[in-house]
């Protein structure tokens, strides 16, 4: 049984940083804006603690838009792009200027489609690049979007579905000149942590010789 050592954590953080840089570049192109990135956090967390962690990082946002996408290959898991609800609507306004910013409206088809597109670009580019660095391939399931109160039973059930440890990678971005912040969480179940640690060691060996 191997662990998430400091060296592995640092390496994973750097690999996700590279993946996230790629995905933010794609998102910036899509939205026609500049995006500020932050250093990702990598931690191993009990799945039952994920929701509390999410509540903490969402900094008081009650209503959240979540784009979820599963990925599968030599390693597997789920990526969740979490945006405070109003941030999701700002993104819609950026994607479709004709729609404007409509905070009072229910999430309509347009908003859902925009969130799916944004989620798909961010998750696909980030994990695609991450898989490239590990010299492996991933296939992605179609993304799904939901807007929920962060304390809802549905979210609690979803995030606590598989008991055990999970690798949680959390990174935050800010869309320039707008108060839009988002968080990308990559959840890898206990089953593939050992595989991932081995591959990270191989990556390091390849880079450092």
């Amino acid at each position: 049984m191997t662990d998430l050592t400091e060296e592995r954590r640092d390496t994973l953080q750097e690999m996700i940083n590279i993946g996230f840089g790629r995905s933010m570049s794609s998102l910036a192109d899509l939205l026609g804006v500049r995006i500020e990135l932050s250093v990702p956090d990598v931690l191993v967390i009990r799945t039952e603690e994920i929701l509390d962690y999410l509540i903490k990082v969402m900094e008081g946002a009650e209503e959240v838009s979540l784009v979820q996408q599963g990925f599968r290959g030599e390693f597997f898991g789920e990526a969740v792009l979490a945006l405070p609800c109003l941030a999701g609507r700002e993104l819609v306004a950026m994607l479709d200027e004709d729609a404007g910013f409509q905070p009072a409206l229910e999430m309509g088809q347009l908003e859902m489609e925009a969130l799916l597109e944004v989620g798909n670009v961010v998750i696909g580019a980030c994990l695609g690049q991450f898989a490239d660095l590990l010299q492996t391939n991933l296939s992605f399931s179609p993304p799904t979007v939901l807007m929920e109160n962060i304390h809802s039973a549905y979210l609690q059930d979803m995030l606590r579905a598989r008991p055990g440890d999970a690798l949680l990678i959390h990174t935050k971005f800010r869309v320039d000149q707008r108060a839009v912040m988002g968080y990308l969480l990559v959840l890898l179940p206990e089953d593939c942590l050992q595989w991932l640690y081995r591959e990270v060691d191989i990556f390091l060996e390849r880079m450092l010789g």
């Binding site: 640092d10 940083n17 590279i18 840089g21 910036a28 500049r34 990135l37 880079m207």
Partner: protein, 118 residues
């Protein structure tokens, strides 16, 4: 001996850059954040600074601006995962010589060193 300053919050990233550098002789110093970079640069100027952008606290943009203020002749090459064209434009405007996307390649680092500190 050419003096290099590698600035990155990730120890692994600094290690990788060191490993990929062509054979020296180099005097290599490392900084884990922007403030440390400025301090080291002030103590002894480097011929070339390899600077990350996404760092906690003072990020690479701010560090670069301060470096150029301290020494308008400072030679800075940005090594970053932030590959947005707007970021590239911003660092070039701030006075960077070049932007290298992460992970860096040995060949690119060799060319950079040949070009900016032969």
């Amino acid at each position: 001996m050419r003096a290099l300053l590698i600035v990155d919050d990730s120890p692994i990233s600094r290690k990788i850059i060191r490993k990929l550098l062509p054979p020296g002789p180099f005097d290599i110093r490392e900084a884990g954040n922007g403030l440390e970079c400025l301090k080291l640069y002030q103590e002894a100027r480097a011929d070339l600074v390899l600077l990350d952008l996404t760092m906690p606290g003072m990020d690479g943009f701010e560090t670069l601006a301060h470096l150029k203020q301290m020494d308008p002749q400072a030679q800075v090459v940005v090594v970053t995962a932030d590959i947005q064209s707007s970021s590239q434009a911003k660092v070039m405007e701030l006075g960077a010589l070049q932007v290298i996307p992460k992970p860096p390649k040995a060949e690119v680092l060799r060319q950079v060193l040949e070009r900016y500190c032969p």
